[in-house]
C-alpha cells in the first residue's frame, strides 16, 4: 500500500503535535485502510513519542508538552491496539515501576511509564507511595526483569536503598535489575545504593531499560504491544 509510509508519518506528527483528535482519527483511517496495526503503532505513534522524548531532552518540550503528546499517543493506541494480530506480544520484557513510599509525585514515574510502554516494555505500575517490600513481592511474582524506582523527594530516598536490600534478602538480586530516577537522584547516589542504573529523564530511561535487559535497538521491540 503506497499510503502506509505517509500515514505513519502523519501519526507520528500528530503525537509530536499534541493532536489527540488527529491521532485518533488517523488511527481509525489506518484500521479502515487495512494497515497493519502493529506497524502503525511502532512506526507511527511510538515514533512520535520517541521524537517527543528527544525534544524533551533538548529542552524544547517540557512536562506539559510531553503529557499532551502522550495523550495523543494513547488516543491512537486505544483505536489500534484491538487490531494487533494475536501472536505478537509473547516475549515482552517486564518492568515493575512505582514511586517509593512517602512520595506521591508521580509525574516523573508516569512519563517513564509512557516512554517505556511506547518502546515495547510491559509495565506493571504500582502507583505512588509504594512500600519497598511491595516492589520486591511484585517483581518476584510477576517475574519482572526490572524494577524502576522514582522519587521527587529527598526525604524518601532511603526507601530506594531498602528495595535493593530486600531483593538481596529474597535472593532475587541477580534476576532483577534496579533502575532509579527522579529529581534528587543522581548517578552517584544510584551507585552508592547499589542500583544497576540511573537515568536522568524519561527518554534516557528507555535506553537504560534496553541496556539492562539486553534489548537494545528497535528490532528488539518486535514483540511490542
Amino acid at each position: 500500500m503506497p499510503n502506509e509510509k505517509e500515514l505513519y508519518g502523519l501519526l507520528s506528527d500528530a503525537v509530536v503535535g499534541m493532536d489527540e483528535d488527529g491521532a485518533a482519527s488517523l488511527s481509525r483511517r489506518a484500521v479502515d485502510e487495512g494497515v497493519d496495526a502493529y506497524e502503525a503503532i511502532d512506526q507511527g505513534l511510538a515514533d512520535g513519542m520517541e521524537r517527543a522524548g528527544a525534544l524533551f531532552e533538548e529542552e524544547e518540550y517540557f512536562i506539559p508538552e510531553l503529557l499532551m503528546c502522550s495523550d495523543a499517543m494513547y488516543a491512537g493506541l486505544d483505536v489500534l491496539r484491538p487490531h494487533i494480530k494475536a501472536d505478537v506480544g509473547a516475549d515482552r520484557r517486564k518492568v515493575v515501576i512505582g514511586v517509593v513510599e512517602g512520595d506521591t509525585h508521580d509525574i516523573g514515574k508516569n512519563l517513564v511509564k509512557i516512554m517505556l510502554e511506547s518502546s515495547g516494555f510491559d509495565i506493571v505500575d504500582l502507583g505512588r507511595d509504594v512500600p519497598p517490600a511491595r516492589f520486591v513481592e511484585e517483581a518476584i511474582s510477576q517475574k519482572a526483569d526490572v524494577i524502576g524506582l522514582s522519587t521527587l523527594m529527598t526525604t524518601t530516598m532511603a526507601g530506594m536503598r531498602r528495595v535493593i536490600e530486600l531483593l538481596e534478602e529474597a535472593g532475587a538480586r541477580d534476576r532483577v535489575k534496579v533502575m532509579v530516577g527522579g529529581g534528587p537522584v543522581s548517578k552517584s547516589f544510584a551507585d552508592k545504593i547499589g542500583a544497576d542504573g540511573y537515568s536522568k529523564n524519561a527518554a534516557e530511561a528507555v535506553r537504560l531499560a534496553r541496556e539492562l535487559t539486553g534489548t537494545a535497538g528497535p528490532e528488539a521491540r518486535a514483540a511490542a504491544f
Partner: protein, 347 residues
C-alpha cells in the same frame, strides 16, 4: 570550634560587608528536627508547640543561621481543601487534590490562616520560636509558591495539561493560591517571622522559561512585593534545574536564591551573583544522608570555593531540605566546615 556571633549578628554584619566569624550556614533541617526532640514526625504536624520545640532544639544543637518552620509543602493547599496524609513517622504527602477538574475551581476560596487546616498551629510554632530565640536567629515560615500550590489544588498532571489546554484555569488557580499565600504571609509576618518561599513546580525541569514567565512569575512577584512592603527580605527556593530562570527569579524580587544541587552554584554566581545572594547547594541525599564526614566537608568547601566570593554573598546550605534521617554528625560537619573556612573565601 565555637561561633563568635549569633546568627542575627552574623547576618547583619555580613549584609553590611563587615567581617564575620564564618559564612552563614543553613543545612535545611525539616523533619530531622523531630529526631532532635525524639518525637515521631506525625507528632509535629498539627501541634505548634511540638514544632517549635523541635526546631528550637535543632537550632540550639547545630547552631545554624535560620530556623524554618516547616513540615511539608502541602499545608497551604490543605487549608484550601486538599487532603494531606501524615504517615506515622515520615514526611506528609498529598493524598488528594482539592478538586478533580476545572469545574471545581468556583468552589474554592482563599485560606484563612487563622482558622483553616493546620495553619494556626504553624503560626503558633513561629510565635513560640520567636519568643524562645527570635532575638538571636532569624525565624522563617515555609510558604509554598502559587504555581506549586495550584498543582496541589487540582493535581500536578492536570495542572500541567491545563497550562496548554486552558491557561485561564491555571491563572484562576494561581490567583486563588496567591490570595491564600498573601494572607498567610501577612499572618507569618504578624508573628515576627518572615516567609520563606518554595516553588518546586516552577522548576525548569518541569516547565519552560516561557511557561514560568506566564504562570509563576507574576504571582511570585506580587507575593514578594507584598513581603518587601512589610519590610522583610525573601529567599526563593526552586528545585531542580533553574539556570534558565535565574534572572526571572531575581526580577521577581527575591533577595536570595536557594539553588538546588541540580544547578551550578558557580554558574549562578556568574549569572545573578551581582544581583542576589545565593544559597546552596550540598547534595541532601548522597552527601548529607549517605556520605561520611569527609564527603560533607569536601562538598561544603566546594560550595564555598564556587560562590564564597559571590558579590551579594553566599549562605552555605544544602541544595534542598534534608532527608529526615540525615545523621546529626553530618549536619554538625557542615557547620564545622563553615567555621573552619572562616569568614573569608577559601583559596
Amino acid at each position: 570550634m565555637k561561633d563568635q556571633m549569633t546568627p542575627l549578628e552574623r547576618i547583619a554584619a555580613y549584609n553590611k560587608g563587615d567581617s564575620v566569624d564564618r559564612l552563614p550556614c543553613v543545612p535545611i533541617v525539616g523533619n530531622t528536627a523531630a529526631r532532635v526532640t525524639g518525637v515521631k514526625v506525625s507528632e509535629l504536624r498539627g501541634d505548634g508547640a511540638a514544632i517549635a520545640r523541635a526546631h528550637v532544639a535543632a537550632y540550639r544543637l547545630f547552631g545554624y543561621d535560620n530556623i524554618r518552620i516547616f513540615t511539608d509543602l502541602y499545608t497551604l493547599a490543605e487549608a484550601m481543601g486538599a487532603r494531606a496524609r501524615q504517615p506515622e513517622d515520615e514526611t506528609a504527602y498529598l493524598e488528594a487534590p482539592a478538586i478533580s477538574d476545572e469545574g471545581g475551581i468556583s468552589s474554592l476560596s482563599p485560606a484563612d490562616p487563622r482558622r483553616d487546616g493546620h495553619l494556626p498551629e504553624f503560626l503558633k510554632a513561629m510565635d513560640m520560636a520567636m519568643d524562645a530565640v527570635g532575638k538571636e536567629v532569624p525565624v522563617t515560615g515555609a510558604l509554598t509558591g502559587p504555581f506549586t500550590n495550584a498543582s496541589f489544588l487540582i493535581g500536578a498532571e492536570k495542572l500541567s495539561r491545563l497550562v496548554l489546554k486552558n491557561p485561564e484555569a491555571v491563572h484562576a488557580l494561581c490567583e486563588l493560591s496567591l490570595q491564600s499565600a498573601l494572607a498567610y504571609a501577612e499572618a507569618i509576618i504578624g508573628t515576627g517571622a518572615a516567609p520563606s518561599l518554595t516553588d518546586p513546580m516552577s522548576s525548569g525541569t518541569v516547565i519552560s522559561r516561557r511557561q514560568f514567565e506566564t504562570f509563576s512569575f507574576p504571582y511570585l512577584k506580587r507575593l514578594i512585593d507584598y513581603i518587601h512592603g512589610r519590610g522583610k527580605s525573601v529567599t526563593l527556593h526552586i528545585c531542580g534545574k533553574t539556570d534558565k530562570i535565574w534572572d526571572l527569579m531575581a526580577d521577581a524580587g527575591a533577595d536570595c536564591l536557594s539553588i538546588d544541587n541540580e544547578a551550578s552554584l558557580e554558574d549562578a554566581k556568574l549569572a545573578v551573583g551581582g544581583r542576589v545572594r545565593l544559597m546552596g547547594n550540598v547534595r541532601p541525599s548522597e552527601v548529607m544522608l549517605l556520605g561520611g564526614a569527609e564527603e560533607v566537608r569536601e562538598a561544603t568547601l566546594a560550595c564555598i570555593r564556587a560562590a564564597g566570593d559571590s558579590p551579594k554573598g553566599l549562605i552555605v546550605a544544602s541544595g534542598c531540605s534534608l532527608p529526615t534521617e540525615t545523621p546529626f554528625a553530618n549536619i554538625h560537619k557542615m557547620l564545622d566546615t563553615a567555621r573552619e573556612a572562616g569568614g573569608g573565601r577559601v583559596a
